[in-house]
Amino acid sequence: MPKISIQDLKKIKEREKAKMVLREGQFRARITVHMGTCGIAAGAREIMSVFRDEIARRDILDVMLTNSGCAGLCAKEPMITVELADQSPVKYVKLDKDKALRIFDEHVVGGTPVEDYALARGSETMAT
């Protein structure tokens, strides 16, 4: 792997930003499972497997499944964020296997957020 330059940093950023914006048609949706120590302790690994299995079972190719660190509201873990290409991201809290399956079915595949388990939509406020 050749060493990168400052120009390369900019190129990587553009490339990744494009992926994340979800408009290139490559991905229709992104599920982020929050897996800091708090999430893992509350059972996030199980939630991750649920999604992985569903994606495999249904042979879905256009849903991105990824993880991140702690989302901040440790009291309500396990938490996930579901972002569809044409909606603001929705944060779900206090999940278990059954809730995760319902969210996958109704929101990720169906397109309608599951109000009952949703905490909030949108993004956090940056200070910049």
Partner: protein, 598 residues
């Protein structure tokens, strides 16, 4: 001269036949004019796309990164959209598609107290990146600050920027970071070292853990910038052994950074060498003290040493060494990219920027919060924390862990900054905030923290080693019913001796929990000593375990939950506790909703 402008927002406008027919090109022109008028053309990109599908509601504009879907947009809406959404970040409600009912009933992050009142600098990437993917970090301006520093700034200019920002050490000491770096740079005894303190020993604090696990590259980048500034080519991250996930994520981050040449020799082709190694701790709170930490890295026993010389002059292996906390380092990327003046525009006069707090205890929204300095404790506990659960009342907030003190109800409007907290007898500390309700005994709390300090004292100083043990024994006497008149005065005098004559930060502040609780909750100590009663009903030896007939609502909850079958109760009768069988486990007290047991 930039190669391509960085767009912070993208308008995806539909240019399918349907929308063109309803005028989408005119809307595009109007938006472009408005953006140019406000000099925003380099920040907001307009892209014409193919048919969106929802022709009946055209012209359509989808705004990224939020993914807000505006429909039936007209050219005359352009000034409104630019003013409200682009400049102020407020969604133009009237242009939103209304029929998707679920979307409306799920509130916006901004409107939820917990998230809406936070301002993220240190935690800017939380929930948004895969911590094991360096490209995710780079996509959000990762390593751009290091690039800017190496390409456009001298080490002295970097230090100047940090000084201008007013950034103070986030580990608890609050020493101005810029000054520390400036002093370290002065010495020309090589090699020099820069160390990240990831020991985070305060009980209840997990801010640093979250950053190390969730955004390890922000720490690496901060350390590289500090290395450039002071002239160090080797950095160490001291991570406590109790954080295996943090160690794993940091290790992966270091490997990935090395692969990209962001650590190692000739970083970014700018002739700067810098590498980082991880030094795990082994379970000692005292190794969070900077000089003890350095001895620990050297393989010696973790005991603090006498200063001078300060570590900036002679630290690790007697070489000039800079040491900063995880959170301090994580601030550097935005600080360098946006400038010291921007950083200084947030916070109070003496305390700039934001602070991350670990909000725990008797509060609804337990978690990590980052707020501008100067936010009130009341806002932190009630607006962000969501208040006290089970309809109980706020009693105090412990800030600063075993080195800190309590803020009682009367002072809940205190503004959180380094000086105001010291004035109230507490301290910022590393950021742990333990909220307490009326079921918390302050004497018991003081005893808990004192016990912790007794265990963690390195043993070098008699006041700390012996004094804390005496203090703990005296507190044990008090909670077990052997308190005597004069004990409080004794504790105060002893506490001042310990704080005043111990060598390191541990000892210098170990008596704070006791001194602070005596200052604000003297009546509780008196009740324990004179009345042999614990008002909060926590200390088992000072509870009568008798039902107050007038308050008993005859619900039977205590009876149903008692693990020793020590409660006698029938429907429509007041409960009674059989003291022969009672083991003083307090399950009945925790269950009773009417305070009917004393």
């Amino acid at each position: 001269m930039s190669a391509s402008p960085y767009y912070r927002m993208v308008f995806m406008m539909c240019a399918g036949t349907g929308c063109i027919a309803s005028g989408s090109l005119d809307v595009r022109d109007a938006l472009q004019r408005e953006l140019t008028k406000r000099n925003l053309q380099d920040e907001v990109q307009i892209i014409m796309t193919g048919c969106n599908g929802f022709c009946a509601m055209g012209p359509l504009v989808v705004v990224y990164p939020e993914g807000i879907f505006y429909n039936q947009v007209k050219p005359e809406h352009a000034p409104l959209i630019v003013e409200e959404h682009v400049l102020k970040g407020r969604i133009v409600e009237k242009l939103l598609f209304k029929e998707e009912a679920a979307k409306d009933r799920v509130p916006l992050m901004k409107d939820i107290g917990f998230f809406g009142l936070q301002r993220l600098i240190v935690l800017r990437n939380r929930g948004l990146i895969d911590a094991e993917n360096i490209d995710d970090y780079i996509a959000r301006d990762g390593y751009a600050a290091l690039g800017k520093a190496l390409e456009e700034m001298t080490p002295e200019e970097v230090i100047d920027e940090v000084k201008k920002s007013g950034l103070r050490g986030r580990g608890g000491g609050g020493f101005p970071t810029g000054l520390k770096w400036e002093e370290c740079r002065r010495y020309s005894n090589f090699p020099k070292y820069t160390i990240c303190n990831g020991d985070e020993g305060d009980p209840g604090a997990f801010m640093d853990r979250s950053v190390m696990e969730g955004d390890p590259h922000s720490v690496l980048e901060g350390m590289a910038i500090s290395g450039y500034a002071i002239g160090a080519e080797q950095g160490y991250i001291y991570v406590r052994a109790e954080y295996p996930l943090a160690i794993q994520r940091l290790q992966k981050a270091i490997v990935d950074a090395r692969e990209y040449g962001l650590l190692g020799k000739d970083i970014l082709g700018k002739g700067f060498n810098f590498d980082i190694a991880i030094a795990p701790g082994a379970g000692a709170f005292v190794c969070g003290e900077s000089t003890a930490l350095m001895y620990s890295i050297e393989g010696k026993r973790g005991m603090p040493r006498i200063k001078p010389p300060r570590s900036a002059e002679a630290g690790l292996w007697n070489q000039p060494t800079n040491l900063n906390n995880v959170e301090t380092f994580a601030n550097l990327n935005p600080l360098i990219l946006n400038g010291g003046e921007w950083f200084a525009s947030i916070g109070t006069e003496g305390s700039k920027g934001t602070k991350v707090f670990a909000l725990t205890g008797a509060v609804n929204n337990v978690g990590l919060v980052e707020v501008p300095m100067g936010t009130s404790l009341r806002s932190l506990v009630f607006d962000i924390g969501g208040g006290i659960p089970k309809k109980r009342k706020f009693k105090a907030a412990q800030m600063g862990g075993p080195s800190g003190g309590c803020i009682p109800t009367d002072l809940v409007d205190v503004e959180i900054d380094y000086e105001s907290l010291l004035g109230a007898g507490a301290m910022m500390g590393s950021g742990g905030v333990v909220v307490m309700d009326e079921m918390t005994c302050m004497v018991d709390t003081a005893r808990f923290f004192t016990n912790f300090s007794v265990d963690e004292s390195c043993g070098k100083c008699t006041p700390c080693r012996e004094g804390l043990k005496v203090m703990f024994d005296k507190l044990t006497d008090i909670v077990e019913g052997r308190g005597e008149e004069g004990d409080v005065e004794f504790l105060v005098e002893l506490g001042h001796h310990i704080n005043g004559t111990s060598h390191c930060g541990l000892g210098k502040s170990a008596a704070n929990p006791v001194l602070s609780t005596i200052r604000y909750f003297r009546d509780e100590y008196d009740a324990h000593i004179r009345d042999k009663h614990c008002p909060a009903l926590v200390c088992p030896d000072l509870i009568d375990f008798v039902v107050i007939d007038e308050k008993c609502k005859m619900c039977g909850l205590c009876y149903r939950n008692c693990p020793s079958s020590a409660i006698i109760w029938e429907k429509k009768k007041v409960a009674r506790i059989d003291l022969e069988k009672c083991t003083k486990c307090r399950t009945c007290i925790s269950n009773c909703r009417f305070g009917a047991i004393r």
